[in-house]
């Protein structure tokens, strides 16, 4: 597997993603500069977390006009897998790769903390190595993570099984208390209709090593690796 990690001015989880792919998974990782048009024949695109363009106007609003994003959108339209984390999720929504938007946390504070997520579907190339309903611990670090979409979009996401992760309590209950940012229906991550773009606010690439507090992100990368080895077309 060759993963391309897109670097925007203000990306700050690019190195975490690189380490997750290269050091933990033992796969090839390359950086793709936002001004380039070359995706370097990667099998997987990662839109990493950070504050691209200083979150000017809205998080992700300017990054989507970066030259490389034309290639990322084309890659996604061909069915190539795109993992969009945190600011990457915001960029993917702004670019129209995923429905909805991420707004200021309901509590108005930036939150950096581990959260519990429930795996809502294992029928995606990102989640096949989890158990359905499994509760995992993955950190969040964001000020604008409140997932919002209109009622029709929410119904469609739920009905078609495109909600990937939900914020829950340690016992797996999707309660208001377990919702760190006011996301509608406790949504923490979604996949697109084609199942090849995953957007999530929590950081699986920061949950890859026991020394860092959690290894619950590993099955996500293992799922991707398995799907690519199985020859799912990219």
């Amino acid at each position: 597997m060759k993963a391309g990690i897109i670097q925007f001015p203000g990306s700050n989880c690019d190195e975490d993603a690189f380490r997750a792919v290269a050091d933990v998974m033992g796969q090839e990782a390359v950086y793709c500069w936002h001004k380039d048009h070359d995706l370097q024949q990667v099998d997987l695109v990662i839109l990493p977390g950070g504050f691209s363009y200083g979150d000017y106007l809205r998080p992700g609003a300017i990054a989507r006009f970066s030259p490389i994003m034309q290639e990322v959108v084309a890659f996604a339209k061909r069915g190539g897998p795109v993992l969009a984390v945190c600011n990457g999720f915001q960029i993917a929504c702004e670019a129209g790769l995923l429905p909805g938007a991420l707004l200021r946390n309901a509590g108005l504070r930036f939150i950096s903390a581990p959260v519990n997520l429930r795996v809502e579907t294992i029928a995606t190339r990102f989640t096949s190595q989890y158990r359905l309903g499994q509760v995992i611990s993955v950190p969040i670090a964001h000020g604008d993570g409140r997932y919002t979409a209109d009622a029709d979009t929410l119904e469609r996401l739920e009905g078609e099984g495109h909600v990937a992760f939900r914020y829950v309590t340690a016992s797996g209950e999707a309660s208001t208390a377990a919702n760190p940012n006011g996301s509608l229906r406790n949504i923490a991550g979604i996949v697109n209709a084609g199942g090849n773009v995953l957007g999530m606010m929590p950081h699986p690439e920061r949950a890859m090593e026991a020394a860092l507090g959690s290894t619950d992100g590993v099955p996500l990368f293992a799922s991707l690796l398995e799907s690519l080895l199985a020859g799912v077309s990219a």
Binding site: L57, A61, P99, L103, N105, A106, G107, L108
Partner: protein, 85 residues
């Protein structure tokens, strides 16, 4: 061509939780402005541009809002004024 100055308001759509607006509402209530029923906090942009007419400037601003300045999922916009700059 004339230089126009456009004032554009962008606010969270009604019905979408605006925690900043709610915090400001609560603060105004604390100041005894009990009559305040709702506050929404948004952005105010001043755009200066060349255009053939007021109408074409307004039309361009609308396109700018739809494509970039406002998020169509969560925000509403209003071209509040278009005046020669």
């Amino acid at each position: 061509m004339t230089r126009y100055r456009l004032s554009i308001h962008i606010v969270p759509r009604r019905g979408i939780l605006d925690p900043q607006g709610k915090a400001v509402t609560d603060a105004l209530h604390t100041l005894a402005f009990a009559a305040v029923q709702d506050v929404r906090v948004g952005r105010f942009l001043v755009v200066e541009m060349q255009a053939e007419s007021e109408e074409s400037a307004r039309s361009a601003a609308k396109t700018m809002c739809n494509q970039l300045l406002a998020n169509p999922v969560t925000e509403d916009f209003e071209i509040a004024s278009v005046v020669p700059a």
